[in-house]
Amino acid sequence: MELTGAEIVCESLLKEGVEVIFGLPGGAVLPFYGALSGYPQLRHILVRHEQAAAMAADGYARATGKVGVCTATSGPGATNLATGIAGAMMDSVPMVAITGQVPRPAIGRDSFQETDITGITLPITKHNMLVLNVEDVAPAVKEAFHIARTGRPGPVLLDIPKDVLVGERWPFIWPDKVNLPGYNPPGEADAVQVSQACELINQAQRPVILAGHGILISHAYAELKELAEKAQIPVITTLLGIGSFPTGHLLHAGMPGMHGMAYASLAIDNADLLISLGMRFDDRVTGRLSDFAPNAKVVHVDVDPSEFHKNVRATVPVLGELKQVLGQMLPQVERKTHLDWLQHIDTLRAEHPSLHIRQTDELLPQYVLRQLSDITEGNAIIVTGVGQHQMWAAQHYAYKEPNTLLTSGGLGAMGFEVPAALGAKVGRPDKAVWSIAGDGGFQMTMCDLATAVENNIDVKFAILNNGTLGMVRQWQDFFYDKDYFATVYSGNPDFIKLAEAYGIPGIRVTDKTQVATSIRQAMATPGPVVLDFIVKQDEQVYPMIPAGESVNEMMEEPIPQRVM
């Protein structure tokens, strides 16, 4: 039977096992929507802004490990997706974005709602395609999903002109395999590289594992745990690697870098070997490169060879898929105790208790997150944007499971938390999902509260409301002579009334004593809830290694009185 291009897209999505699509229709993509309404197996979630469609697809993908799908129309619809796509690119998230394009004869004529979205997204997609013939639709969808989910995952955009979606018909033939001669993601690593890496691990006196997002992507938690326990190596998890190793584990040594735990950054500084697994030495991790891990050799395992020596020179680069590579390495890694080294790290931890919250009657944002962690027992999915709330969420929540901190890491996009939490809850209805926002980020995407209401997506939206762009203000405080220009939000709405306007409960918390009860109350309330925590304004994230500096310039919390 011959189908339209739009129907072929739907059939292809079914073949790829797609369950949900986040999107917002418009003229050029309308034929796809016309077909989609006939495919109830493909759940469509209508958003209020296309950026939310891309970010929801991202949150869905991070929470489930499946490919997130979003769709938008040509022109502004497509460009609104761009921030969400860029975030997926930076954080290696599998995503397929489908955009309608103006009909082929209209392309290149500056037609209404025409933008060159494949051109625009060239540097922020793993790959993109302008599909110019109906017979190319099915192979293009198959290729898009294959590229998005394999190797180092990333977003793929398919731009399909309106007349390809609806003009002609073609038999739906699902290809057996993809034809991509230029794309061969690595699997097992070279045996020589593996044995060289293991030799360094066996010789090391002061090794640390830097576990990154790659562990989560390749589902290598069991292998990571086995490696750490067998050779008694402390595990430092990067921001995106949080959840790859249980926070409470004796060998867990925190998060490194700009706002990481001091003992983690100091452990890297003292280490003689970094075992870097699926991480990319972001500048927020390394600080000044010439002072980073000055005494360490580096074993760098990654699926993307362009990461080797990009920022930090690897003594032994190991190219391969992480789970398989760890499987190859484990038999060659010797049992060790590293007693002196682990004791040294314990001493660092005791001397630099980065995560203590000081005793005060004021409502501290850190306290809110610690309470949330305790009450949810570390079992919720926490979704954040970027800024102070993000760092406190990374520091003070005790993540137990993989894929439970979803955060805009590489791109650092404010507003990610609201739509990404929606996507996460749609993908993991069994988990409690909390969107943690600042009042700044929340206002970037709060229009999609409507999406939560409309689809009854049970996300708890916590706002750590300090009335400012907190992290920017912190930089002004530290580095710009306390010139708080353009960071005060004096016209914030009443978020409780806003919640009421959307027909959902809102809880305002102004006092420390109300925190636990409000969290419990929200959890006991089915459906979305907004929690407006009015937190202390000038609370800073510590420790802090200023951008471009090293662990030697680390600033720790100046208040001497610390209580558990």
């Binding site: 494949t118 051109g119 060239l122 540097p123 793993k126 790959h127 302008l130 590229i147 991509l180 001669p181 230029g182 794309y183 500048d283 000044r288 490169l289 010439s290 000055p294 993307d304 060879p305 362009s306 080797f308 020596h309 990009k310 920022n311 930090v312 020179r313 690897a314 680069p317 190219l319 200023p546 951008a547 471009g548 500096e549």
Partner: protein, 192 residues
Amino acid sequence: MNGNGNHHTIIALVQDKPGVLTRVAGLFRRRGFNISSLAVGNSEQPGLSRMTFVVDGDQYTVDQATKQLDKLIDVVKVANISDEEIVSRELALIKVKVTPATRGEILEMVHPFRAEIVDVGAQSMVIEVTGSGDKIQALYGLLEPFGVLELMRTGRVAMVRGQAEGRVSDDLIINYHGDGLKVNEAYEVGSY
């Protein structure tokens, strides 16, 4: 002349698809590279084209760009052949002013370059010359005093010498271990 200084010759086997040139060029642009020469044409395999780039940049940046190039889905193979034994050629068309008095002199001058006269007019002639960039530059230098009206040059095309086993350029896979960095030496990022 290859592998000297910051000059790098990179060849790529790419899928013959729309946009592939933009993707490749965009990669170099994003890293602030100047492509000093570029040549593209069909390969011996249907559906695949070969590109030859000459780019300027330090070893670190070229290594990064080559690896990034290899990541592009439409790029099948990439090799930095700067340090290899290669054959490389460029072609130039030079339109030079002539008068009855200078015509003979120019013809004589062109001869040792094994260049050909491909068009003759009353007041100009077009010379076609093939060879290395240096050779073309040398001939241009000699013709310049007569008045060059127009110069058109192709990019360089390059091929690894066959040697005994008749190897082809694509056999040179990029070296994932090459780094171009000394220990603890990398571009320092600023404070941002």
